[in-house]
Amino acid sequence: MLESGDRIPILKLGHLLLVTIQVDMHDRMALALQDDLTKKIVDTGARGVLIDISGLELVDSFIGRMLSDIAAMARVLDARTVVVGMRPAVAITLVELGLALPGVQTALTVERGMALLPAPGEFGGDARPEDEGPDA
């Protein structure tokens, strides 16, 4: 089991979920984030997931796979995923590693990433404010 301090927080903003990865995750942490996010998408009916990886100094095959899996699971649950803030050295390394993050939409900045996700108005009555959890 993971201590709560070992979990990546997921913030809910309207119909979006925001994740900022600021620590060097070990593999179980990455898997926990994947599970937590999938559950949160279902619980909140979120339509978009924004993952900020500007704090990550590396993305190896395990974290790359986590990002691809999150995007795939979110898609099945009718939510779009955008990964933002990848550092240039990380991008070069990923490509040389042979990892092109299939199925993952990326954007350079949070602002541009937000623009790729559905606007709140598109879902008007579908928002579920009653689902605001203690961690929102």
Partner: protein, 134 residues
């Protein structure tokens, strides 16, 4: 040739893999590697350290700065006493996996560093040595 006596770092858990990344990042910075080479090296270390934990059943990492004439490099060695690799060529090919990963780790790590040597035989464990030069 050797600037540092390598001290072994245990590789037995997920947390050890993260520690290995930090140790090598610090060494790469000290050795004056460019940011892009630091990132490639640390990513290769992450892949190989994970392999040691998962496929090798645990092992150790040794790290040192090499001085070779005018060249400076960071050398990292991974050792385990696990089952070994029966077919190296296949293990290094893109997309080959015996586990749950993408099969990019081993072959990918080779592309991220300048020198890459593997010694392995069934039942005799695995030793991987990588070097990134400045």
């Amino acid at each position: 040739m050797r600037a540092l006596t390598p001290e072994p770092h245990a590789l037995d858990s997920d947390e050890d893999v993260v520690r290995a990344r930090h140790v090598i990042r610090a060494l790469a910075v000290d050795a004056g590697l460019r940011l892009i080479d630091q990132t490639k090296l640390v990513t290769a270390v992450s892949e190989l350290a994970r392999n040691t934990v998962i496929h090798g059943g645990g092992g150790r990492m040794l790290a040192e700065v090499l001085e070779n004439g005018t060249r400076t490099g960071v050398c990292v060695t991974f050792e385990d006493e696990g089952p070994g690799i029966p077919d190296l060529e296949m293990a290094l090919s893109q997309g080959f996996t015996t586990g749950e990963g993408l099969g990019l780790g081993f072959g990918g790590a080779r592309r991220l560093v300048h020198d890459f040597d593997v010694t392995s035989a069934p039942g005799e464990g695995t030793r991987v040595r990588i070097v990134t030069w400045r």
